[in-house]
Symmetry: C2
Subunit: 431 residues, 2 copies
């Protein structure tokens, strides 16, 4: 690409935490010269030019419009750290790729939603599109699935992909505080965004698992078919009760393939305390990969932060300089598998169900009868002492059963006169 | 390389477990066409043509001499699965690289011993030299360190890299049988070689950690400076006592960098039961990677077997077809860091020490005095009941101290009249 001059000129759009991390890395590591080329940032674009930053941008050519930066001849590679599936990030990435200019991005939303179209575009102009920083920060999960495991048929990827949610759940358990209190504290400390919806709603983990599933299965990402449930309904009470039953509640993202069907989903789930995913606390990310030949691989590391994420962007820069010609996802866009969403009613799950019932004779019989009618077997049953109000909290876990049967049982139970509030169901992870 | 014809012709040297695994993979996956090229094995070489195999080799051109296969125009890539740092494997790999022919190998011994020379040779002719299958089977540790983490300064890699040793240690604990009995059983079941020295002597893990350390630190592998201790001296008694103290004994391979110094070593070590490395049982492999920016990454997977290892070879084939031009190790051979071996006497370790002493007054005082003289602080002390023989077994663990102090303390203790046999010291892992 720049073989003759041996300088790679970068246009950087987005000078937030990760962008500044990258500038710092390049300043600290003047010897970072993959394949002999020197890496130099020549132009930058960000929302606010005046904002106080840890790095000095005054030597760089400023672009008010990231699209102009993406199209400028003054750089050889466009690095997009703006974020968001639409707007300037999308327009700028499309503009660079249209010109055949390589793009490096950390934008999981953009790729999860428009990945297939962008792959078609990139492959039509021969531009590379790299996104190691989009998932698990500096832990190279993207490279592992796109390149390291192509000699296998991967059937499942599952894990913890959102550090903010993992931090909040860990804090709730450690501090015995409610979701709202812990979230407000995380926001105050800068661990959660002012508008936390993308994280706590499970959407960020959904974008990431849609991407990883696509890489794992040789398909195109399709965020529109993902089933997403966040952690905003997780109560401290459930964290405590799960703990008593030997579980920890985690936000689990998973993508599973069965033949031409794939399911991509994110939901809070109970994980046995001894399981590696239960032990990944704080803002750690963790991932299981299951394949026919490789068996089970486990990968864990910091999921975010300036250092790790900038390291992932730098790895993409190095990759670009090898001149590797590879498709954006595991296969060329025209060969990507068309995977239909699996019908969730046919999926099996074990369930944790929490009830509040009136303290009347025959209540337990009524509840267990409702479960039996739906074909559910009870795995454990925990009746708490009667409250002052005359109400009895009950927690039970079921054996794995069809999700449709679990839904049916919940409806039966909710319809009982003695049941005071809608039962709370949380899946038990089968990992 | 074969862009016009779209066929990649492979010469395969070695038709053992991994070679047959690769042939099976290619037979099962006719769609395995990375970058559009079809992969075909055209020639094969192995020690014994007549041996019964799970795959049919009769359609392939047979070469008695792997060097001839390596030099033959009938293939575009030479895959070396013979093994061994010298002899036909080395000669054949050198022959292929000299011609500028790409080589894929699973041979950790060859690379750990001659890696630098081979990198110089490969880079002089422009031939690729890939070796994902050399370490951790199908778990892409090589790709992770060579490519995924180049945007960081990795200071340490440490873990469990020999599946046979891990299997034997796990079996000793589970079955309460001695090393010799478990090894004989593992040999009978095909989990250990007839001559097990390479595995149980720690040499295989040493080759692997020398390679991973080189990739991690941007240096050349240098097996000659590795300190190697195997598991053949691990007694069931120590496994039991360690367990009582809250530890499990594992064969730990680690490479550590401090400035221009690096240490590479393999030794049995006590790992706390709750540590992920203690929980990697059976023939699993596991690895921690620590870097300035990325923090700590943990990677675990099956370390061997036909399926995983063949998947790693296939991933290298796919990599080759991207046309990526990258150095053999993390940097071009001429730029590889020259790292001197660190002086082990300046290294710190905590130690487990097991003694057998005579049941006489003042014995404990004499032992603790010897420890104090060497500057060692005791962390835990376990005196077992007096044996019929009038001898008292003592087990103690120390706080971290200079290895030279630990050596000195052992000498002091061994010299005491009341100490019946040479004390047994096993390091406590600082991971």
């Amino acid at each position: 690409m720049t073989k003759s001059e041996k300088v790679l000129r970068i246009g950087l759009a987005g000078a937030g935490v990760v962008g500044q991390g990258l500038l710092k890395f390049l300043a600290q590591r003047p010897d970072f010269a993959p394949a002999g080329a020197t890496v130099v940032v020549t132009g930058v674009s960000a929302r606010n030019r005046e904002r106080q930053r840890e790095v000095d941008l005054s030597d760089l050519v400023w672009f008010d419009d990231p699209v102009e930066l993406a199209m400028s001849d003054s750089n050889d590679v466009f690095i997009e750290l703006i974020g968001g599936s639409e707007g300037p990030a999308r327009t700028a990435v499309e503009a660079a790729l249209s010109l055949g200019k390589p793009v490096i991005t950390a934008n999981k939303a953009l790729l999860a939603v428009h990945g297939h179209d962008l792959a078609v575009l990139a492959e039509s102009t021969g531009a590379a599109l790299l996104f190691e920083a989009a998932v698990m920060g500096g832990t190279p999960a993207v490279k592992m699935l796109r390149e390291g495991l192509v000699g296998d048929d991967v059937s499942r990827v599952a894990g913890i992909l959102n550090g903010t949610c993992n931090f909040i759940l860990s804090e709730m358990e450690a501090s015995e505080l409610s979701f709202d209190v812990v979230l407000a504290d995380a926001q105050a400390r800068g661990f959660a965004e002012a508008d936390p919806t993308t994280d706590i709603g499970g959407f960020d983990a959904g974008h990431k698992i849609a991407l990883l599933g696509a890489l794992a299965f040789g398909g195109a990402p399709d965020f529109s078919t993902a089933e997403i449930e966040g952690i905003d309904q997780v109560e401290l009470l459930d964290i405590r009760l799960a703990r008593q039953l030997g579980f920890r509640i985690k936000l689990i993202a998973q993508a599973t393939r069965e033949g031409r069907l794939a399911s991509v989903r994110v939901n809070p789930a109970l994980v046995p305390l001894s399981h590696p995913l239960a032990q990944a606390g704080g803002s750690l990310n963790a991932l299981f990969i299951e394949g026919d030949r490789i068996g089970r691989i486990f990968l864990q590391g910091p999921g975010a932060g300036a250092g790790p994420t900038a390291a992932a962007v730098a790895a993409d820069i190095a990759d670009l300089l090898t001149g590797a010609r590879r498709p954006v996802f595991q296969k060329p866009a025209r060969l990507l598998a068309r995977l239909s969403p699996a019908d969730h009613a046919h999926r099996k799950t074990a369930a944790y169900i929490r009830l509040l019932v009136a303290d009347k004779p025959g209540v337990i019989a009524a509840v267990t009868d409702a479960l039996a009618k739906a074909g559910l077997s009870i795995d454990s049953f925990l009746q708490r002492s009667v409250q002052d109000t005359g109400l009895v909290p009950i927690v039970l876990t079921t054996q794995p059963a069809l999700e449709s049967s679990v839904d049916e049982a919940i409806e039966h139970i909710a319809a009982l006169d003695v049941v005071i509030e809608r039962p709370r169901m949380i899946r038990i992870a089968q990992i």
